[in-house]
Symmetry: C2
Subunit: 130 residues, 2 copies
DNA sequence: TAACGCTGTGTAATAATATAACATATTTAA
DNA sequence: TTAAATATGTTATATTATTACACAGCGTTA
């Protein structure tokens, strides 16, 4: 059974918006969109985003400074994300590959590090842009 | 034989600085350090950084907005980077793992994307910080 | 009940990261 | 030897993110 987090008002508003988009949204574009709902300041957005990232509802696409809803129930637990990013149209897709995830989860370096999270971004050209 | 790029004056100054550090440097800390060498503006730093990233001499640690010298002759060709990052002391290490690299290089999604690059960041606690 | 810790809200100010636009110089290659 | 490509220098500005402070709501527990 998944732990069900209770989201606050601002967190709900911002998660709703991100879930409605199938592509990553940037913090200040989110801010612009939620002004009509009474969220006025960057910090209100960043606080909600940070929380949503922490509980795995959304992910940050680090190379793009943008946020996308999680489409993969498993990475909520594993703290692990894999994305493919088209460098032409900027289309972003969350990748769900059991074998690859397993390989990454099981990876051990030779320095004795304890991993609890990873983030992988593939870049290239999507079918439309090739 | 590796293609030997000829670096410009600013590029050399900035690469030198980054290579002397075994940890990632941030753009504005680089700017501060190279002011004595006559580099005065952020854009001069970013232009050199972008070029150095492009030719594989340095990598950007996306989750940290910082730049580190490449320690792995192979990723210059493969456009592929793997790092481990300690979330406590922020120590960053470039990982050089043949099996993992192969696995990632050979990864194919089911959307027909053509990959030419990837960036993987592992997070956790290093031996000292556990 | 009252005190406390925890999480969230609201607001203003500011810090940190990165790019646009323009003028000019230097190197490379046809 | 002219044109294209790459690099420089400078000013201004855009974009992304955090600090600091005051306070509200909620559940725990003394
Ligand atoms: Zn996910
Ligand atoms: Zn595309
Ligand atoms: Zn490298
Ligand atoms: Zn550490």
């Amino acid at each position: 059974m998944q732990k069900q987090e209770t989201l606050s008002k601002n967190q709900k508003i911002i998660l709703d918006l991100i879930e409605k988009s199938d592509q990553p949204l940037k913090a200040y574009s989110i801010l612009f969109d939620v002004k009509k709902k009474g969220i006025n300041a960057p910090l209100q957005v960043y606080r909600a985003l940070n929380k949503l990232v922490k509980i795995g509802k959304i992910h940050k696409i680090e190379s793009r400074n943008a946020f996308i809803a999680c489409k993969n129930s498993k990475c909520q637990i594993a703290n692990a994300t894999i994305f493919s990013i088209c460098e032409s149209c900027e289309d972003v897709t969350e990748i769900h590959d059991h074998k690859l995830s397993e390989h990454l989860r099981d990876f051990k370096d030779n320095k004795g590090m304890k991993y609890n999270k990873y983030n992988l971004e593939f870049f290239g050209l999507c079918k439309k842009c090739v």
